[in-house]
């Protein structure tokens, strides 16, 4: 029978394995499919109104055993043993605790060893596995696509829908293949790949699509790096990003707390190995990128598509043909306090933020630590390091990374979303400029009037040493103490 089937993409395979009921009709008039959801992740910000909706309608949470919650967006990264100072933040977190208790949801609270950013916690517990459907009231749910899962962010109404039905009514997504062939140069990372992809296709280029990242440069990446790439799929407007599972994936999942065991493991791996786009599968769109040519990439503007190679200059409005892009450039330059034509490497920053669901995993921390080890921080720079989860923090401390960061003069914090969106006290001041390993450089994202340049952990580390945006090669000659 399988020989009769037309070739399918990875996204189509995962979709088809979760159809509870096909929508009726054809073409534009086709009704949505009802799709089953394998894992529902919750956090304090987008869930209270959904729980309230359930309560008001007298509905049950259908599958508490497929649901897990963590506290991340609001949590402080200092003094976590003291009451949360911000009363509205505290109320929101207490509301999550009350709701989880009432509806029987597993919750990892501040202070718990498994607490952390929801997109770091899921994979780390082994709950994110290939071929699953994963949703969360958070756009960066695309992160979990790194395992070959179909994972996407939803709004609060849909959160309530999943709570009540463990399913979602959805129209099939289109598919786009992002082929990255070649070998990354030293100092170039997954973050640079995804920033280059977004700059190429634009913040709306992925709308309606699931992006499948393919090619030799992707296959060579670790799971942490693959998560960085899939994480920012939403920044290209895509519904989700995916990478076909392989030995790297299986190796990562194996032995984690919720990984299948014994016969289940064998059955799972047999299935997971089928999760690749078939030879001859048709994508609705294709994009090609040469990894050999990539350089460290940074943003200059106020959306993640406004990025350039670190070695080039801030653009001028005249560089853009489209009038809307020209206006967007003018506006971004004003907000960012930049003059077109300035070399990116001459931009002086005030703060370096290493963290967020994009770049706060062990590999990110190790890479940055290796650069700052024994070197001196620019005295004007404030550097904050925020591990993605309490578990990552513990692991990093076991390797001595905390010591390296502290000796360098950086602040070593507790886990959470932190300065990525400034819902907790970690914010930029008006006009402050930040090299940030996070995912959004929107106006005011990191604090009212704050200016964000999105960078890789390597660029973040080098920038903290030089004081201006820099790549590791720029600081190669700075002294290193033993």
């Amino acid at each position: 029978m399988s020989t009769m089937q037309s070739p399918q993409t990875l996204a189509e395979k995962v979709w088809n394995a979760h159809v509870v009921r096909h929508g009726e009709g054809e073409g534009e008039a086709r009704q949505p499919d009802l799709i089953y959801i394998d894992l529902h992740l919750l956090h304090e910000v987008t869930s209270p109104q959904a729980f309230e909706g359930l309560r008001l309608a007298g509905r049950k949470l259908r599958r508490p055993d497929l649901t897990i919650a963590t506290e991340d967006h609001n949590t402080p990264t200092l003094d976590i043993d003291k009451p949360i100072a911000d009363l509205t933040s505290r109320t929101q977190i207490f509301t999550l605790r009350d709701n989880c208790k009432e509806f029987g949801v597993r919750l990892h609270s501040l202070g718990d060893k498994e607490q952390g950013i929801v997109h770091v916690v899921g994979p780390q517990l082994g709950l994110t596995q290939p071929g699953m459907t994963v949703v969360c009231g958070d756009s960066h749910t695309s992160t979990h696509g790194a395992f070959g899962a179909l994972a996407f962010g939803i709004g609060t109404s849909e959160v309530e829908h999943v709570m009540a039905t463990q399913s979602l009514s959805l129209k099939p997504f289109k598919t786009m293949s992002i082929n990255v062939e070649g070998t990354l140069k030293s100092g170039v990372t997954a973050k640079d790949i995804i920033l280059a992809v977004i700059a190429k296709i634009g913040t709306g280029g992925g709308q309606g699509y699931v992006l499948e990242y393919r090619g030799s440069a992707i296959r060579a990446l670790s799971m942490d790096a693959r998560m960085t790439i899939c994480n920012m799929s939403i920044e290209a407007g895509a519904r989700a990003g995916m990478i076909a599972p392989d030995e790297t994936t299986f190796e990562y999942v194996k032995g984690r707390p919720h990984a299948p065991e014994g016969d289940d493991w064998d059955a799972a791996v047999d299935y997971w190995k089928t999760l690749q786009s078939d030879e001859g599968a048709r994508f609705d769109n294709e994009v090609f990128l040469n990894a050999d040519e990539l350089e460290p990439f940074v943003t200059w503007g106020t959306n993640p598509g406004q990025g350039v190679s670190l070695s080039s200059n801030v653009p001028v409005p005249e560089d853009f043909e489209d009038e809307n892009d020209r206006k967007a450039c003018e506006r971004a330059l004003t907000y960012m306090g930049l003059t077109g034509g300035t070399p990116m490497k001459e931009i002086r920053v005030d703060t370096v933020f290493l963290g967020s669901c994009t770049n706060s995993r062990m590999e990110d921390l190790r890479a940055a630590a290796e650069i700052v080890k024994g070197r001196e921080k620019d005295p004007q720079i404030r550097m904050i390091v925020v591990p993605g989860s309490a578990r990552v923090r513990l692991e990093a401390e076991a390797e001595g990374l905390d010591r390296i960061f502290k000796d360098f003069g950086a602040e070593w914090r507790f886990a959470g979303c932190s300065m990525c969106l400034g819902m907790n006290p970690d914010q930029l001041a008006e006009g402050e400029r930040c090299a940030s390993t996070s995912n959004r450089n929107f106006e005011g994202r990191q604090g009212k009037g704050g200016r964000t340049h999105l960078v890789s952990p390597l660029v973040a580390a080098a920038t903290a040493i030089r004081g201006t945006l820099a790549s590791p090669s720029d600081i190669a000659n700075t002294p290193v103490s033993a």
Binding site: P32, V45, P48, Q49, L421, E443
Partner: protein, 201 residues
């Protein structure tokens, strides 16, 4: 959800592309646990500028927002839709919407009408030259009208039907509960469950 078939109200031209959800509602306003009362939060950063369009007459009484392409990018926060609705907007017109924002709008009875950028340019001119001009968004005919301009808009059939009937998604899905239960019986045993909780310790 309230039924929407047509809506007519003052159009607000917002000549800007890539209006992300952090601009529509900054994160600091997301700490509330209610579903209403977000009118003060809409475009909170920009509204501090007294020249911002929503601070000027008669646009401050507007209910149809006409924005540049890629409206609602970024975060999944449905609060963006709540804030627009609480302020009084019934429809947003743009050449391109971010997917999650568009989905959230459909759940909350806010019409996200996708209109060609060339038509939006004409509507912007009309609204700027004649402030207070009303825009009619007609879901039945799938058109927006502003002065003498009549432009078609795109919206998917299912969302349009739900908006026009004022249907609640969860209620619709629960009618298929038997299908969900049968599907659950076929799920492979190796799929993980969050309970009982396991941790690395």
């Amino acid at each position: 959800m309230e039924k929407v078939v047509t809506h007519t109200g003052i159009g607000v031209p917002l000549r800007q592309s890539n209006i992300d959800t952090d601009q529509i509602i900054p994160a600091v306003y997301l700490k509330r646990i209610t579903r209403t009362g977000f009118e003060d939060a809409l475009f909170a950063g920009w509204r501090r500028d007294e020249n911002f369009i929503l601070n000027t007459e008669p646009y401050n009484k507007g209910s149809v927002l006409v924005a540049g392409p890629d409206f609602g990018t970024g975060s999944s926060r449905e609060h963006a839709v709540w804030a627009l609705k609480d302020y009084g907007f019934k429809a947003v017109i743009s050449a391109r919407f971010a997917d999650i924002f568009r989905g959230n709008s459909g759940k909350q009875g806010l019409v996200a009408a996708e209109v060609a950028q060339s038509d939006i340019e004409l509507i912007w001119k009309e609204l700027e030259n004649n402030p207070g001009t009303e825009v009619t968004v007609n879901l039945d005919a799938r058109t927006v009208q502003c002065g003498s301009i009549v432009a078609p808009f795109q919206i998917d059939d299912y969302t349009r039907w739900r908006l026009m009937e004022g249907l609640d998604d969860i209620g619709l899905t629960l009618k298929q509960e038997a299908d969900i239960t049968s599907f659950e019986a076929t799920r492979p045993a190796f799929k993980p469950q969050t309970l009982p909780a396991r941790t690395a310790d």
